[in-house]
């Protein structure tokens, strides 16, 4: 029978690294997807995943057993992602931001589709970059991770009302920014 996160955390807290390994293997992929949505960059996402697990290991003593380990881990990962995003903003004057999609395997689309999808991706990436850190985080957790707004609040350490307004602002901004692209894609 598969052990619950909570049972594994108890073992890991006692210094059982193998137990912690199970948590890394269980949560690694979803955490990568979250980090990629947050940072928009594969290398940064990899760094965030590693750093999040290292922080989680160090802070296991502070984890409240009554909470969900996944939500707690997401909170750590969102903080790491925000660190990365802030430091990237500082670096952006010196270096061009890598297109996160360029390294993806191609599905052999037509040249027209490439041009169009490239432009759409660019617009989406730009629109996402226009969101504040709080808006982007709340939106990613609600839209891509499917968390209820209350859970988003818990993951961000804020009131559900504040999380809800961050989601509203994010969606409103995205709708306005992507309206022309979205109408064209109809």
């Amino acid at each position: 029978m598969e052990l619950t996160d909570s049972a594994i955390v108890t073992k890991a807290r006692l210094g059982d690294a193998d137990a912690f390994r199970v948590l890394v293997e269980r949560h690694g992929r979803p955490l990568f997807r979250l980090a990629f949505r947050m940072t928009g960059n594969q290398q940064d996402a990899e760094d965030v995943v590693q750093e999040s697990f290292l922080r989680a290991w160090r802070q296991l003593g502070r984890f409240d057993d009554r909470a969900s380990f996944g939500t707690w881990l997401y909170r750590i990962a969102t903080n790491c992602s925000l660190d990365v995003m802030r430091s990237r903003k500082r670096r952006s004057a010196d270096a061009q931001v890598e297109d996160p999609v360029l390294s993806l395997p191609s599905g052999d689309p037509t040249p027209e589709r490439v041009a169009m999808s490239g432009e759409v991706r660019e617009r989406v990436a730009e629109a996402m970059d226009e969101l504040s850190a709080a808006e982007r985080t709340a939106f990613v957790l609600r839209h891509f991770e499917g968390m209820r707004i209350e859970e988003v609040g818990r993951a961000l350490g804020c009131q559900p009302g504040a999380a809800k307004h961050s989601v509203f602002r994010a969606v409103r901004k995205l709708r306005r920014a992507l309206e022309p692209v979205a109408s064209g894609a109809r």
Partner: protein
């Protein structure tokens, strides 16, 4: 029913609207709201088109291999967590005393930072390597102080005077390394050292006994600024450069021969 607000439509889209049936009914009857809702759906569909690389099934295992050797050992944690609380505190005290002795000995036997900076100034090539080693060591010691504070727990107020003393030493070293990094044009190192100095200064200026609330604020600040993460990233870069330097040095020596 009045028109649905954009907020209500967003909640409806995410299936979090309290009265979903009424919203659905209104959308069926009201063209304006339907148009707005359609625009919202299309925009969010476009957002969904942004692809995400899908990590393979073995991704978790790969992450584990990368971090396994970097996990700070929870030495003795097994038996410490099994002890009753008062004994746990006694064990923590003993461990802390041992750490103080180790820090004292390390302080006596490490090369003086001023020496490293002077050597760096005298011979830029050899100096760069000496500086890398010194900065790497400095970052590790700073990290240790910050980690201890970040992980400190106490039911009452906590005496941080020992950490403050170490922070005072680290601040004076920091200035030297920061200036040298500034002279050698290493802006990334100088910037992280600058941030680190501000955090260390705040620690030295804090009261020597912190209430749980103050300690929590300090922890939150460390987390919010992500200084530990930055130190780790810089430390890892410095170590990589060190390794590259030690690979290049023997080859260069061989060429001369």
């Amino acid at each position: 029913m009045n028109h649905l607000s954009e907020e209500q439509l967003i909640l409806h889209y995410y299936d979090e609207e309290e009265d979903a049936l009424a919203a659905e009914r209104h959308l069926g009857e009201c063209e304006a709201c339907r148009a707005l809702y359609g625009s919202l759906q299309r925009a969010l569909n476009v957002v969904d088109s942004l692809p995400v690389p899908e990590p393979g099934a073995e991704y978790g295992e790969q992450v584990w291999r990368r971090i396994e050797h970097r996990l700070p050992a929870r030495r003795g944690a097994r038996w410490v967590w099994a002890l009753p609380a008062p004994w746990r505190w006694a064990a923590a005290g003993a461990a802390f005393a041992a750490l103080l002795v180790a820090a004292f000995l390390a302080g006596r036997f490490y090369p003086h930072p001023r020496q490293a900076a002077q050597l760096a100034a005298a011979d830029p090539q050899a100096g760069e390597r000496i500086l890398l080693v010194a900065v790497g060591d400095y970052l590790e010691r700073s990290q240790m102080v910050l980690i201890e504070l970040a992980n400190a727990r106490s039911p009452g107020s906590l005496d941080i005077s020992a950490e403050q003393e170490r922070a005072v030493d680290l601040v004076s070293e920091n200035r030297l390394y920061r200036q040298t990094a500034g002279h050698t044009g290493d802006a990334a190192v100088a910037s992280v050292l600058d941030e680190l100095e501000r955090v260390l200064l705040d620690i030295t200026h804090a009261p020597s006994r912190l209430s749980p609330g103050e300690l929590d604020k300090l922890r939150q600040r460390l987390e919010a600024e992500g200084i530990l993460f930055k130190i780790r990233v810089l430390g890892s870069n410095v170590r990589n450069q060190e390794e590259k330097g030690s690979e290049v040095a023997p080859r260069a020596a061989g060429q001369k021969l």
